[in-house]
């Protein structure tokens, strides 16, 4: 089949959602952010709610999420996305509001805003991309960096005695009654991508049903920050990140 045949509408098997812009992604090749962005936008498209949705971008690698997501968006100060989302949602309870945050943003500087937005049961969706490192600023230790893991600020490996333990924010917020749905997923294989999309869809469906806060963690890689090839980083993620951050549904609404 030549290119002319391939691009015929009847042969089309997949099309980029119109809610992703044509801007080239600024993420490193092999990074999971692009897929996580796309899944979120596909869910909005499939639910036909993109025109009623306001997204909140964090500070970190995904600070420029608004360059790629073709919806109305606000860029929040570092860690403050859940507070910004609260401000929007309280004024527009019938619109859809989500934050898209990394682990430095959500689990370090924004811990208070995250816990309290979840504790109030703000009817928002939090997409949390956890790659165990500060990617944007050049590979420094994150709250989620694994024990012994090297980073530019833990060059000899994370020492639990002096640097503390990795913070499992997802398990933490699952304890809060205001949160109806908590799921941890990944996007490095087609099987994982399908499951992650299902989780994001479930989160937005529950927001639609006004069920309180919904929270989806995506464990991802950072091949640049981890100093690995994309393939190596995915293997390392499966072998090291998944045992510490096990995938699956952590909290689902009580039937």
């Amino acid at each position: 089949m030549d290119i002319k045949e391939i691009i015929k509408p009847e042969n089309l098997v997949y099309k980029k959602t119109e809610f992703m812009t044509d801007n080239p992604l600024s993420y490193c090749p092999g990074c999971g952010h692009g897929t996580a962005h796309r899944l979120t936008m596909e869910v909005l498209e499939e639910m036909e709610i993109a025109d009623q949705t306001i997204g909140v971008a964090p500070v970190g690698c995904s600070v420029l999420a608004y360059d790629f997501m073709n919806i109305d968006m606000q860029q929040a100060a570092h860690g403050r996305a859940p507070a910004v989302a609260t401000g929007i949602k309280r004024c527009y309870p019938d619109k859809f509001v989500f934050t898209y945050q990394g682990d430095g943003d959500l689990a370090a500087i924004g811990t208070a805003e995250t816990i309290h937005a979840c504790n109030r049961g703000e009817n928002i969706t939090i997409i949390f991309v956890n790659n165990g490192i500060y990617g944007m600023t050049g590979g420094q230790m994150a709250p989620t960096t694994l024990p012994g893991m090297r980073s530019s600020t833990s060059p000899y490996g994370r020492d639990i005695e002096s640097m503390g333990n990795p913070l499992k924010m997802t398990e933490l917020v699952a304890q809060l009654p205001g949160v109806s749905y908590v799921s941890r997923q990944a996007v490095h294989t087609p099987r994982h991508v399908r499951k992650a999309k299902k989780a994001i869809r479930q989160a937005f469906e529950l927001q639609k049903a006004k069920q309180g806060t919904t929270f989806v963690e995506i464990v991802s890689n950072c091949n640049s920050g981890w100093k690995m090839t994309p393939v190596q980083s995915n293997i390392w993620m499966e072998e090291n990140m998944f045992p510490y951050y096990p995938l699956g549904e952590i909290k689902t609404p009580e039937k």
Binding site: I54, Q74, A76, T86, G87, C91
Partner: protein
């Protein structure tokens, strides 16, 4: 009514859509009044107690970015915490109203009144090249009047407006006349009126983005030039001040807020002693009435800047006077309120006799 209650009621009546705050003395009556008054039932206004001042100002950011008329209040230590968010809002050109009921500092300081946050209020406060419009009420009536005016200015210039009050004005009780209830805008009206607001991207327009980030330095410089033009336009059009007994004055007090109230009495005492004193009260601290102060140098012999601080506004008075006549500062600070007699004595010693 107390000043703090008057501004809370006036904000409801001005048609505010939301308030996000965190308790701190001496302004907790604001959120207490709002919670008790149930504005959600009266007008649909949202009131939420946040987990911190930091969260509160970022809730304000979110609501303002979606076109809502939103405000917050705090006192000095809490206002310091809000500076990050205020800088972001100035950068993202978002309208909002912030009330600071100033108490003594630095640090946790004291819960007693002070005017020591002048520099923070008028010189920027947070990081980056920006200014806030700063209104300084001197009565409970002005606490009520300024909130509506502050919202108008915030939306006219798309910038945060700070109401710089103090513990005296916030806590004291005076008679106050309140405006009738103004309607809130509907979501449809907001989408129509504020084309920049993030309310959901419809097919017929590009997406709206609220951000203060411009990674390319030429774009960042261009944005800064736009902001500076805005501040210049504010300086040209929005100066507000009031004068008392200035027509024949030989000596001038310059004072704002509760210090101006004290100076009004000081003018009377001085005049009874045969000193031709007058008072210029800036109502806007940015923009500062510098041209008006400069014009008075042709017939006034000296000026005394009276502040409940160790001397902050006096720098702006000196810049306005530009060396033409003598300018001195008198202040009590750390929560002490000067008496009118002390002020007259300072005028005699520092300006007339000095």
């Amino acid at each position: 009514m107390k000043g703090n209650e008057a501004i809370a009621e006036a904000a409801i009546r001005a048609g505010a859509d939301a308030y996000f705050g965190y308790p701190i003395t001496p302004q907790s009556e604001v959120i207490e009044y709002l919670m008790a008054e149930k504005p959600h039932e009266r007008t649909g206004k949202v009131v939420l107690q946040a987990e911190s001042e930091v969260a509160a100002i970022n809730m304000v950011y979110g609501a303002a970015g979606a076109g809502k008329k939103v405000w917050t209040s705090s006192s000095s230590p809490g206002i310091s915490l809000k500076q990050e968010g205020i800088s972001y809002m100035a950068g993202a050109e978002l309208p909002c109203v912030v009330l600071n009921v100033v108490r003594g500092g630095p640090g946790l300081g004291t819960i007693q009144p002070s005017q020591a946050d002048y520099f923070q209020a008028v010189k920027g406060g947070g990081h980056g090249d920006y200014k806030l419009i700063v209104l300084a009420p001197a009565s409970v009536q002005e606490m009520a009047d300024h909130v509506g005016e502050a919202f108008d200015l915030a939306f006219k210039y798309l910038t945060p407006v700070l109401i710089l009050s103090d513990g005296v004005i916030g806590q004291m009780m005076e008679k106050v006349w309140l405006e009738e209830q103004q309607p809130r805008l509907s979501n449809e009206e907001i989408a129509e009126k504020y084309s920049w607001a993030t309310v959901g991207k419809t097919k017929n327009r590009e997406r709206n983005i609220i951000t203060s980030l411009r990674l390319k330095s030429d774009e960042m410089e261009a944005h800064n030039i736009v902001l500076q033009k805005k501040y210049k336009s504010i300086e040209e059009n929005e100066v507000r001040f009031e004068t008392f007994d200035c027509d024949d004055a030989e000596y001038l007090f310059v004072a704002y807020g509760s210090s101006a109230r004290i100076c009004q009495k000081a003018v009377q005492i001085a005049r009874a002693e045969g000193i031709k004193a007058g008072l210029l009260r800036p109502i806007t601290l940015f923009p500062f009435p510098k041209n008006e102060i400069n014009a008075l140098t042709s017939r006034v012999k000296g000026m005394l800047s009276v502040e409940m601080s160790s001397g902050q506004m006096v720098e702006d008075v000196k810049l306005a006077v530009n060396g033409k006549i003598k300018v001195e500062h008198f202040g009590r600070f750390g929560g002490i309120i000067p008496t009118p007699d002390e002020v007259v004595e300072a005028l005699e010693q520092k300006i007339i006799g000095g």
